[in-house]
Amino acid sequence: MNQKKSMNPIPLSLRDKKRYLVFELISEQTLFERDVSFDLKNLLLKLFGELGLSKMNYQFIGFDEKSRKGILKCRHTAVEDLKAGILLLKEVNGVKILPRTLKTSGTVKKAKTFL
């Protein structure tokens, strides 16, 4: 008997509208991607909780250690909340930082041009 092996594609009208947020961490010392990802996720988890963070569709895309800029992904309705969350980040692995959001983009390709 033929068994269904793959999912039907989700129709465009039901797909989540995502946004890619480019942020910068101003600091004098080097920051590592895994530390930024860990500390940021912990902070957002404390602020929004598991349910809130899952509803935001939060995802850490990447962080460039040279330019100290990174990209986050979230639902289009959660952009302002994510910006507010990033502002509360004071330090990463003990290093004091100054967070700032740069741009919001609809595609990751355009977001990468701001790195």
């Binding site: 101003i26 309705t77 302002e80 910006k83 507010a84 502002l87 004071k90 700032r100 959001t101």
Partner: protein, 196 residues
């Protein structure tokens, strides 16, 4: 839009100006309970050196002192009151000479009610929420602080007050971009049901 900073002698104006420019803030208000000499020296320094941002001064009152208010009303560009309890908040909004009420709420009981909001509307007092208060408070108390400010913003929207979030930084690491602080205000403004 202006950013507000709690100025102290530990702040180096050059470093402050450079960081504020990096964050995209072009106007900075230096708030402090100035003495006359400090204010004169600061104004001279601002005039002499060519900073990349525009600096303004704001005399900050920590108690209900009308004499001090009259003394400084024409010497600084702004006059602000650091709130936190009902009586000081009421003093700040009742006086037309006071431009700003900074930090009306704290991590304890609510200190901002409809009477204060109504009076603030009549006297056109602007309410400033210091972001550094959220950064420096303990996590468990931040919950209560956020709740108090959410309620304060509810009243502010009902009575159509001018209110905004400012950095009110005591050190360079507490500075934030004014545009990002607007996002923080809209985050506080949102009703919790809107997180779908």
């Amino acid at each position: 839009m202006k950013d507000f900073v709690l100025y102290s002698k530990a702040f180096e104006l050059n470093e402050l100006a450079k960081t504020e420019k990096q964050l995209g803030n072009n106007e900075v208000v230096l708030c402090r309970n100035f003495s006359e000499k400090e204010l004169t020296d600061l104004k001279e320094t601002i005039k002499k050196e060519n900073f990349p941002v525009n600096f303004f001064t704001c005399h900050l009152l920590y108690n209900q002192n009308s004499k001090e208010l009259n003394k400084f009303k024409n010497k600084t560009e702004f006059i602000g009151v650091f709130g936190g309890n009902v009586s000081i908040n009421k003093f700040a909004v009742s006086n037309k000479q006071i431009d700003f009420l900074i930090s009306p709420c704290n991590e304890g009981r609510l200190t901002f009610d409809t009477a204060i909001a109504r009076t603030a509307k009549e006297n056109k007092t602007e309410i400033l929420i210091p972001f550094s208060q959220f950064l420096n408070v303990q996590f468990s108390k931040r919950v209560v602080l956020t709740k108090n400010y959410v309620f304060m913003l509810k009243l502010s929207n009902k009575f159509k007050l001018n209110s905004r979030v400012v950095s009110f930084a005591k050190e360079v690491n507490e500075l934030r971009s004014v545009k990002d602080l607007e996002a923080f205000k809209s985050f506080l403004d949102k009703k919790f049901e809107s997180v779908r």
